[in-house]
């Protein structure tokens, strides 16, 4: 039960932090980190996949409602949630029956770093491509994806390394 409660708090905190603080960061006009994806990254490994998808959809939709971009965040978040377990299996070898919550401690530093980078890149690319809806501003698009992903990844590492246990 504590895991459930912990995740509910994490959800609320990340959504509020995203819409009230991060969406107002407009550094250089390119950088807008989307830290809320950390919620999907930190769900326990054994969570039923249908529940994972539904949670991703709700999370994306909540962000959408607050930022006037109906559907975009929902699409990107569900997309990345669908590939989550595949990516985890790619980088780690978790034994049957184990149910770790992804972090530096359970995955090991190198596996967790790879996992976060791949997940964030998938999410941000989907999101920014959807937002632009064309490749006419390709280089701007690419810069946006790269810079924002970098900041999100650094934020996630920062938060995860502060966490004890």
């Amino acid at each position: 039960m504590p895991t459930v409660l912990q995740n509910i708090f994490r959800f609320i905190f990340l959504v509020l932090f995203q819409v009230l603080v991060l969406n107002n960061i407009q550094f250089l006009g390119y950088i807008n980190p989307y830290l809320y994806i950390l919620f999907i990254l930190s769900l326990p490994f054994q969570i039923p996949r249908w529940l994972l998808l539904i949670l991703a959809f709700i999370l994306g939709l909540s962000i959408d409602i607050f930022s006037n971009t109906l559907g975009m965040h929902a699409f990107a978040t569900v997309f990345v949630a669908f590939f989550r377990n595949g990516i985890i299996k790619l980088f780690t070898n978790i034994e049957e029956g184990n149910n770790p919550t992804p972090s530096f401690y359970t995955f090991g530093v190198s596996a967790y770093v790879k996992y976060v980078i791949v997940m964030v890149l998938i999410h941000h690319s989907t999101l920014f491509i959807l937002e632009a809806f064309s490749f006419t501003h390709f280089w701007i698009l690419l810069t946006k994806i790269m810079l924002s992903s970098l900041i999100t990844i650094l934020l996630i590492f920062g938060i995860q390394s502060i966490k004890t246990k």
Partner: protein, 280 residues
Amino acid sequence: MKNLINFLIQYSVVFLFLFLEIISFTFIVKNQEYQKSVFLSSSNFLVSGMYEWNNSVVEFFKLRAANDNLSEENTALKNQIINLKNKLSTLTPEANDSIHFRIPPEMIYRFISAKVINSSTNKLLNYITLNKGAIDGIKVDMGVISDEGVVGIVKTVSNQFSVVIPVLNPKSNISCKFKRNNYSGGLIWSGEDYRYANLTDIARHVELALGDTIVTSGFTNSFPEGIPVGTIEDFKIKESDAYYKIKLKLAVNFHTLSHVKVINYLNFQEQKELEKKSVE
């Protein structure tokens, strides 16, 4: 039959995935209509309420800049009063001979002041939410300006809130012209920097210089003529081009925008109906 059920169970997650993605995508594509209906957009009561609360905190930190702005405007107004008084005093003796002076046109513009409670400058499609709506007399297609210049056009209105499409949105289309020689063109945002926009449709024979002032043309009913849009920052033209590539520095700083005025053009309806009739 059993195989079919097994198949469905085995791939149920994939179906769920596709189902959710299709819903999301439908949302994106229908976004236009959704914004019209105000439902689930930031005119939504709960969301706006929260943004208003957030804004009341943030506004505190912007007080200094707002004060500076106000005092500047105040001095400008005072100067204007003195100027007008001077003019008036020179005119009054001849006022009896009123045939020399044009009767001032009717005041056909009214202003509704409003506050920005949510805005963005870093997206490709930016929107601004105002804290006034239909109750305060705001209607769709009204122009929005700040003390510095043009902000945008009202897109959707709910009872207490309204959403504006600012210049920083490729969907906005505001017609503007050179203050100096009245050549008019369209204003388009390039999507990169909130401080700059592009001016299109200026033919190569037009003479222009860096720093020329661009104002609204008054051809769109949303704005009266002569409201500042920006100044020319840079312009280019190739041998083969028929039109200039002009970069404008916008007069309004969208990043610090907090108080705006919505323009209510009292003859809007009449003009629009007349124009519609003549097209038919």
